[in-house]
Symmetry: C2
Subunit: 153 residues, 2 copies
DNA sequence: GTAATTATAGATGTGAAGATCTTTTTAGTG
DNA sequence: CACTAAAAAGATCTTCACATCTATAATTAC
């Protein structure tokens, strides 16, 4: 349901959301969120096309979050790179069942619907502001963050 | 989330549940549920190992549902062939986060939990007895069913 | 016993997602 | 302008779920 690609995309968005407008290159991002750089480039393209991040080429370019984190849902990010699939009709497509789903697939689709709603209710803003944890970034320690902000860049 | 393999397994279980104890060979099953026969054989092995279906070799052998359909959850079937994955810990495994999940992955795991619960609440018995649809079997029409029960076997 | 039928086991093939690499285009800097 | 930094684009490689095939073991019928 959450593909590896979607996982990278979410990490990237959360990281950018914490960067307060600072542009971030693919190489930087890849290092921070522990994703393969060349693959991340492809993932970021998807997020750019979807309008979730803005991109700037050339020197001092990079990616920035294009929208308010509180308005970006986790589902949007997932869909931007790897569309979430519901069950539109019975997979076997027998003539008698072109409209509506059989009992089995109705239930399975319901599971997907529940999951989809759950993904839609979570926003990036919420994730960023979640209290009670050491890290606001997924799996990146505060110390690493401070080091980065204090030293280089 | 619901892999192709799990889809085949569910169709097979629903079909067997509707067969009232009649043993069904892999070839028959594959034909009925529209699954690749040789692959279905492998899927059925998983269901057998999990104790959800019983198997009988030799002439007049085949598979039968080993338990009361009402006691078999959709989740059990899925897990028998293609384990449902929660997020046990932060995928990056930074030392600081070995216990508990970061805000992002806590939410993602929550989505999985919601889906898992939903899969667990649906039983095969429910699917079989669902009213208001032409088919009790997924995507197999009543007429096809009657033909089968009336004629051969 | 033999032959037929069927599940079981394991080796092998295939395609799509995941990942990498190279080239091109765009933007800033001196 | 030339030079460099960075995203965009697209070709290619890799890996794993999905699928197939062949051989073996178990059961029944005769």
């Amino acid at each position: 349901m959450i593909s590896q690609t979607a996982e990278y995309a979410l990490r990237a968005i959360v990281f950018l959301g914490n960067q307060a407008g600072e542009a971030c290159t693919t190489a930087q991002l890849a290092d921070e969120i522990d994703a393969p750089p060349s693959y991340l480039a492809k993932v970021m393209k998807g997020l750019t096309r979807a309008g979730i991040v803005g991109s700037q080429r050339g020197l001092h370019g990079g990616f920035t979050l294009a929208r308010n984190p509180c308005d970006v849902t986790v589902l949007e990010v997932v869909n931007a790179v790897d569309a979430f699939h519901r069950i539109p009709q019975c997979p076997l497509g027998r003539p008698a069942h072109t409209s509506g789903l059989c009992p089995l697939h109705r239930r399975l689709d319901n599971v997907m619907a529940v999951a989809e709603r759950s993904l839609e209710q979570a926003t990036i803003g919420e994730v960023l502001e979640e209290p009670g944890l050491l890290c606001t970034l997924p799996c990146i320690s505060r110390s690493a963050l401070n080091a980065k902000h204090g030293a280089s860049v």
